[in-house]
Amino acid sequence: MLSRTASDLYWLSRLVERAENTARMLDVAWNLSMMPFVANPRDEMIAPLMISGSHELYMSRHDDVQVREVLHFFTLDQDNPGSIFNCLRLARENGHAVRGKITAEMWESINSTWLELKEIRRGGLDQYGASAFFDWVKKRSHLFRGATYGTIMRNDAFRFLRIGTFIERADNTARILDVKYQIGTLYGVPSGGDAMDFYRWHALLHSVGAYESYRELYSEAINADRVAELLILGAEVPRSLRSCMQMLCELLPAIEGRAGQTAKRLAAVQFARLQYGDLEHVLDTGLHDYLTDFLRRINELADTIREEYLEVV
C-alpha cells in the first residue's frame, strides 16, 4: 500500500478516536464541575487542559480558566488544532483523500458527521447543549467504527485504520489516568472512601466506558488502585493499555511486507510488560512515573510507525 494512503487512513481513524476521547474527557470534567462538593467548578476544568497538554495554548488566549470558555475551546473552537471541530474536519479531509480505499458507507458516515458538525457550530454549543453534543460525538464515532468494522475488507487499509485507533486510545487512557490520579492525590487520600473520591474515580470509569466492567470484576468499593489496575492491566477492558497494546501486536505483523521490524518489536516488548505485569510493580514504580514511561514508549512506537510505514524514504 502507498505510504501516503496508509498515513491518511491511520490519521483518519486516529482523529475520530481523538474527537471521541475529547468528548468523553470533557463530559466527565463538566459533570464533576457541577458536583456540590467541588469548591470551585473551574478547578475541574483544568484537568482536560492538562490531559491534552494544551494548557499553555489556552492560557495564551484566555486570562482565566472558565467553564464555558474551556468547553468552547475543546469543542467548536476553530483556532484550537485539537478541538473536536478540527479533529473531525481533518478526519473528513483524510477520508476524502482515500475515498477509493474506504467503503461508501464509511465515507458517508464521516462526511455526514462533518456536515452536521458545521450545522451545530452555526447554532453554537449553548443551543445544542454540551451533554447532547458529547453524546453526539460518541455516537458518530461509534457509527464510523461500526461502518468500518462491518464493511471494509480485512486488508492493510483496515489494519492501518485500526492501528490509528489503538495508538490514540492507549495514549489517551494513559493521560486521563495520570491526570486524574495526580488531581486525586492533590486533593486528598488516593484510595480513601470519601464521597468526593468516590465520584472522581466513578467519573473516570464512566469516561472510558468501564464502569460496568469494574462492577463486574471487583466486588469492592471504587478505589484508585483498582481503577489503575483495570485501566492498565485489564485484559477484558477494550480501552485498557493492555488491550490497546495487544491489538497493536496483532495488527503490525499482519501488514504485508517485511517493513516495520522496529515497530513490531517495540509493540511486542510493551505488550509483554503489560501482559506479565502486576499492580504491585506499577505501584512500586509509582503510578505517575509508570504512566510517564508508558507515554514515552507509545510515542516512540507512533514515531517508529511513521518512519517505517507512513513516510518511507
Partner: protein, 479 residues
C-alpha cells in the same frame, strides 16, 4: 404526453430530419419518449443527480471558492449514432491518431516532414509545447500519445469535422462510463429494447494499453494526479480504482539509481509506467518549472534513459496545438499515404498576413481562438459577442497575430435534451477516446457527448457550464 420543441430549421438535428420526421436510428427511442410523462423524466433526472452525488462525480471549477464541488449537468436523453456512421468516425479518428503519433516520432527524430517542406520549421521550434529535451529519445513502440481525445462536431448539413485533437491529458472518459451506468439504472427497458454497444470496458482496455507500452514484463502501472484540488481529480481516482492501480501524487514517487520508485508500506516499489494527468511543465522540477510541487525531481533523466514510460509522452502537446491543427490532413497524406477520412474545419492562421487581414475584416462572423488555449477560455465567438468585446479582441489580435487562429462559426448539430418546459434542442459535440500502444488503435464505441445547456449556446466546455449525455452506438434497425 411530451411537449417537444422542434429544432431550428437551419441546423442539423440528431433526432429530427428537416421535415420533422424522426431519423430511423431514433425511431425506437422517440416512440418510447412520447409515452413518458414530463413528471417521470423530471423524477429520473433528480434520481440521476442523486446517483452522481453519491458516487461523488463532482467537478472542481477553477476560480470558484476553494473546494467548491459541482455536478456536471447530466441530460437523460441519449445521443444516438448509427453503427455504420460510427465505423466511419472510428476509422477517421484512428487514422488521425496514427498520423499524429508518427508526426511526433518524426519531429523528435529525423524531421522528414519539415525537410519535405510540408510544415514550416518555425511552427515546430516556435511552439511552446515542443520539448527539445525529447530530441532523439526513442520511445517503446514509437508511441507518444497513448490516450487521445478527438473532438468532433457536425455542421448544418450534418457533415462531421474534427474540431481539435487532444494529445496531452484529455479528460472526460469517466463521465462517458458513469453516464452509461446511470442510464442503465434509470431506464433498463431502453437497453433491453435495442442493442447499445457497451463502453464500460474502457478501463480494462486502458490498462492493457498502458501495460503494453512498457518492455518490462508485468509492469507496475500508476496514475499520477496533481491531487485532490485538481478539477479532474474525481476522474483520476475513478480510473485508478477501475484499473486497480495506485493513484499517486508527486511526493509518493522518487528517483533513485536510475529508476522511479513509489513509497509503500512494504518499502520502495519500482514503477514502470506512469499514466500521468499532470502537464509537462510540472512533471519534474529539476527539468521544467522549478516551483512545481506536483512533480518528481529527476523523472526526466530516468525517462530519457528509457527506464520508465510516461503516458502520454513528454512533448506530445506539439501535435495538438491549434497552430499545428491545420497541417494534420497533410500529415495523414505524408505519413500514411492515405486521404483523410474526416475533414478539418477550414482554419485561418493569423500569423499569415493575408489570413489576418481576412480575420480582422470578418470578426463578427468568426470564432477566434488562442493557439495554446483550452477549455473554452480566451476565445471569441463572433456572432455571440458584443461590439465592445469584438473591438477589444481586435486589439489583442493585432498585438499578437501569431497567437490566434480563426474558423467559421459552425452551427454544431443539435440534439434534444430535457428542460423544464419539456424536450428542446441544444448544441452538442463528441469526444471519442483513442488508445494507442503500437498495435492498431483501439476505441470503445461512442465517447463523451458534451452539451451546451443554454438555448443557442455553442460553448460545451464543462468549465463553462456545459453538460453531458450518454452516447449510444446502435445497430441499424433491421427493416
Amino acid at each position: 404526453m411530451q411537449s417537444i420543441t422542434p429544432p431550428a430549421v437551419s441546423g442539423f438535428d440528431e433526432m429530427f430530419a428537416r421535415e420533422g420526421a424522426v431519423r430511423p436510428h431514433y425511431s425506437s427511442y422517440h416512440g418510447w419518449l412520447l409515452g413518458q410523462s414530463k413528471e417521470l423524466l423530471h423524477r429520473k433526472r433528480q434520481e440521476a443527480e442523486l446517483l452522481f452525488h453519491r458516487v461523488g462525480i463532482t467537478f472542481n471549477v477553477y476560480g470558484e471558492e476553494s473546494g467548491a464541488e459541482r455536478l456536471i449537468p447530466f441530460d437523460v436523453v441519449p445521443r444516438i449514432i448509427p453503427e455504420q456512421e460510427w465505423r466511419h468516425l472510428e476509422q477517421g479518428t484512428a487514422q488521425r491518431v496514427r498520423a499524429l503519433n508518427q508526426f511526433l516520432d518524426d519531429i523528435y527524430h529525423g524531421q522528414e516532414i519539415i525537410r519535405a517542406g510540408r510544415i514550416p520549421a518555425d511552427q515546430i521550434y516556435g511552439n511552446a509545447h515542443y520539448q527539445p529535451c525529447m530530441q532523439d529519445v526513442d520511445l517503446p513502440n514509437q508511441v507518444y500519445s497513448h490516450v487521445s481525445g478527438v473532438d468532433l462536431i457536425r455542421d448544418g448539413e450534418g457533415t462531421w469535422y474534427v474540431l481539435e485533437d487532444n494529445l496531452r491529458t484529455p479528460s472526460g472518459v469517466s463521465y462517458m462510463i458513469e453516464n452509461r451506468r446511470v442510464m442503465m439504472r434509470l431506464f433498463p427497458e431502453l437497453f433491453a429494447g435495442q442493442s447499445v454497444a457497451p463502453v464500460e470496458h474502457y478501463p480494462s482496455l486502458l490498462l492493457d494499453t498502458l501495460q503494453h507500452s512498457s518492455a518490462v514484463p508485468y509492469p507496475t502501472v500508476v496514475l499520477l494526479t496533481p491531487g485532490r484540488f485538481n478539477s479532474a481529480y474525481f476522474e483520476h481516482a475513478f480510473l485508478a480504482q477501475q484499473m486497480g492501480i495506485e493513484l499517486v501524487e508527486g511526493a509518493d514517487l522518487f528517483v533513485k539509481d536510475g529508476f522511479v520508485y513509489m513509497r509503500t508500506t512494504a518499502g520502495p516499489q519500482r514503477v514502470d509506467v506512469i499514466y500521468r494527468r499532470i502537464d509537462d511543465d510540472f512533471l519534474d522540477p529539476l527539468a521544467f518549472n522549478p516551483d512545481s510541487m506536483l512533480g518528481v525531481p529527476g523523472l526526466l533523466s530516468v525517462y530519457r534513459q528509457g527506464k520508465v514510460v510516461l503516458a502520454n509522452a513528454i512533448g506530445s502537446g506539439v501535435g495538438d496545438d491549434k497552430s499545428i491543427y491545420p497541417y494534420v490532413p497533410e500529415m495523414i497524406r505524408f505519413y500514411l499515404g492515405e486521404e483523410p477520412i474526416l475533414e478539418n474545419v477550414p482554419t485561418r492562421l493569423c500569423r499569415r498576413p493575408e489570413d489576418l487581414q481576412y480575420v480582422l475584416e470578418h470578426l463578427p462572423e468568426l470564432v477566434v481562438k488562442e493557439v495554446h488555449g483550452a477549455g473554452g477560455y480566451g476565445m471569441l465567438v463572433g456572432p455571440a459577442a458584443s461590439r465592445e468585446e469584438i473591438e477589444s479582441f481586435r486589439q489583442r489580435l493585432r498585438a499578437r497575430p501569431d497567437n490566434y487562429i480563426a474558423q467559421p462559426t459552425l452551427s454544431l448539430s443539435t440534439c434534444p435534451i430535457f428542460v423544464e418546459q419539456g424536450i428542446a434542442p441544444r448544441h452538442i459535440d463528441l469526444r471519442p477516446f483513442v488508445l494507442s500502444d503500437g498495435r492498431a488503435p483501439r476505441m470503445v464505441p461512442g465517447g463523451l457527448t458534451r452539451v451546451a445547456m443554454n438555448a443557442g449556446s455553442l460553448v460545451v466546455n464543462s468549465s463553462q457550464g456545459g453538460g453531458t449525455k450518454d452516447t449510444w452506438v446502435v445497430e441499424a434497425p433491421s427493416c
